[in-house]
Symmetry: C2
Subunit: 412 residues, 2 copies
């Protein structure tokens, strides 16, 4: 009888806590999804305006100057790429994010991306989502632990809003805080926020990519060996990307001691130079059209992935505002595309797998990568993607595009 009573009390506590988090995280999904869909709509409006102009990128020096100035002047804590800042805030400030981050990050990112800065939109989305969540967490007077969980909902809401993959968004948020630890405590909140934000973004007209990849015969055993080799290649490219990014960040931070916005100006000039040399604007902006072509199976020429590594490093290290995952998808899919041509493989499939495997390696999120491959490409492609993703995740070692991730284990 006593046992029955105790069980009943325990069950009531679990039920109450689960329902509380369903409500809280749905609310987080609503507010974070609302602000991110506003941001995404404004961004696509900005890109539409500038892209009507063929030489829009000539304004890049001014655009990066203004982006950098805006952030330094009004919200210096919003410097750097978005998700990284949210991870840092969760680990160091219990998730507290200044409200000013939201308008400043919105404006700076739109200016950076519309004029051709090479960066992503999921990072600012996560930052804007988490910032909104932090504001409401203050209003709701949440305790420290709940506060952090509530803010993390902003990461999944931002991710799902941008990429349209709610399950991967939730798993990404639970996986990205640490290297080698999955935060089960945030799984339910992140999942609900993810779905609600996904719905809201859809409702407000944000469209998401969906690819159909025909992998041919499933479970071809040779493919496993090919995937191991490809996973090693992706891991090494991820490492090269992280090293290049760090190199330019240190260079512009320590070696170039001038007024910060001027660094943005220099960055803009370098990017114009890249366009002039390559005679292409492919390496600028979000680059989603290139990702689309890669995964559609078009034979892309040249070493696009190297160009994108360079332009992204320059944009983010000189003061441009934006995220890092869209470039990761660009680099991964174009790498897969070129690799497939080299080894005579299925171009669309390698491009899709390259995209998620580079995510697994550069963000240390193999589970999010596997889930994303399932949501975007279906289970057949995921069969192979899972192999390439776990291999690249190990090969990249203890490096990350998010230096604030806390390392909890050794990969060897």
């Amino acid at each position: 009888m006593k046992q029955l009573n105790r069980d009943f009390v325990e069950e009531s506590v679990l039920l109450a806590s689960t329902l509380k988090w369903i409500l809280l995280s749905s609310f987080a999904g609503i507010v974070a999804g609302g602000t991110t869909s506003l941001f995404l709509n404004l961004l696509s409006y900005g890109i539409k305006i500038t892209s009507s102009w063929s030489s829009y990128y000539l304004f890049l020096p001014f655009a990066l100057f203004i982006s950098s100035w805006l952030v330094i002047k009004f919200a210096p804590e919003a410097e750097g790429h978005g998700t990284e800042k949210v991870i840092e805030s969760v680990h160091k400030r219990n998730g507290k994010i200044n409200l000013k981050v939201i308008p400043i990050k919105t404006l700076a990112t739109i200016i950076t991306l519309s004029f051709g800065g090479s960066a992503g939109k999921e990072g600012p989305s996560a930052q804007i989502g988490a910032g909104t969540a932090s504001f409401f967490a203050n209003l709701l007077k949440l305790n420290q632990d709940d506060y952090r969980r509530f803010v993390i909902c902003g990461i999944s809401a931002g991710f799902a809003g941008v990429f349209g993959t709610p399950i991967a968004g939730a798993i990404f948020a639970a996986e990205v805080l640490y290297v080698g630890r999955f935060s089960y405590r945030v799984l339910l909140p992140a999942l609900f926020a993810s779905y609600i934000s996904f719905f809201i973004n859809r409702y407000f007209g944000i469209s998401h990519f969906r690819y159909s990849i025909d992998v041919g015969s499933q479970n071809d055993f040779h493919m496993f060996i090919y995937m191991v080799v490809f996973g090693i290649v992706v891991g090494i490219v991820a490492l090269f990307f992280i090293k290049t990014l760090t190199f330019f960040e240190n260079l512009f931070k320590e070696k170039v001691q001038i007024y910060k916005p001027l660094k943005g100006f220099i960055g803009g000039i370098i990017l114009i130079f890249v366009v002039w040399v390559t005679k292409s604007t492919d390496y600028l902006g979000l680059g989603t059209d290139v990702i689309d072509r890669a995964i559609h199976g078009d034979e892309l020429t040249g070493l696009s992935f190297l160009g994108k590594i360079f332009t992204t490093s320059i944009t983010l290290s000189t003061g441009g505002s934006g995220g890092i995952l869209t470039p990761v998808f660009f680099i991964g899919s174009t790498l897969g595309n070129v690799w497939a041509q080299l080894v005579g493989g299925n171009i669309a499939m390698y491009s899709g797998i390259g995209m998620v495997a580079l995510l697994a390696a550069s963000a240390n999120t193999p589970l999010a990568a596997i889930t994303m491959s399932m949501e975007l490409f279906g289970v057949q492609t995921a069969t192979y993607a899972s192999i390439a993703s776990v291999v690249s995740y190990l090969i990249v070692g203890h490096h990350s595009v998010y230096p604030s991730q806390i390392l909890t284990f050794s990969k060897t």
Copy 2:
């Protein structure tokens, strides 16, 4: 230059360790997949023979007597359901498993299941796979840490061999050892062993279920609320199952002090009595035909899930040999089936989701459940299954069908 050198050394170590584990785990997949496919083929042969007889279940008292006697006499450490024993061995004996477990568990399980004992085949598969791995780990003189990882490959090999879901098999193995901790260190080994075992089992004629569920309009918002409610129901039923199982285990362990195999005899008589009362053999054996009917969308009548909870608890607590996940899938899918009829929902969909959500709750493996729903039913069903799975996982609280799981966090 120094930095470059250091990077090169670190990369070489990572590459060597990754390749080492690809080879080791492929080898584990070959040996574990080999023994499990032999076991599964013998089992299906056994079931084929007995099922040609309409009153095969009348031998149950003798079958459970012999199963129990075999295990007690020759491999007492193999008592109980399989995966649980592997978890215990990993936590308490660094993964060491006696070689005798393999033939004894094979024989005892075939006798139990062929004559109608209610249990699963994935547990013994995992145990047989892990036992084989342990044998070779001894031969290879692996160090303690490698030994454990190598044995864990047996769990994923067993799971993937039985259910044909390699990614879920790997995630299950990395997730099932602890409540609330994901073992990233075993992800790559588990994944390779999983795939290799899946191929080997396919090659040796083991067939796997694949269902196609039409969920109708995806992303219907109402469905989210329905899924929360259903997740709560599944969580409570999981709790009831775990409590019932524990109740009978304690009853037959502590209150009934007789020669152990005689308990099996009594268990067999109770099961015959169930057939006599219900006028059905549906609650006996593996019950995969009932799972098939449930997920196919047939309207099952009665409270099958209660019957199966009872017969499984009796079988496993009186000394029958077998696993627990196939019963979990039976209970979950028939619960979903009945629930769908009650609330007027899509019967096939609720049955499929009930199956994986009960897995999430009773084994504390929400990620494996979500992945499994993707692999078996596709991404559309997984959309809803993920919600029901994380809710049921929280609602079940700190209970598990695997008492050896180590609890690492509080769910409230």
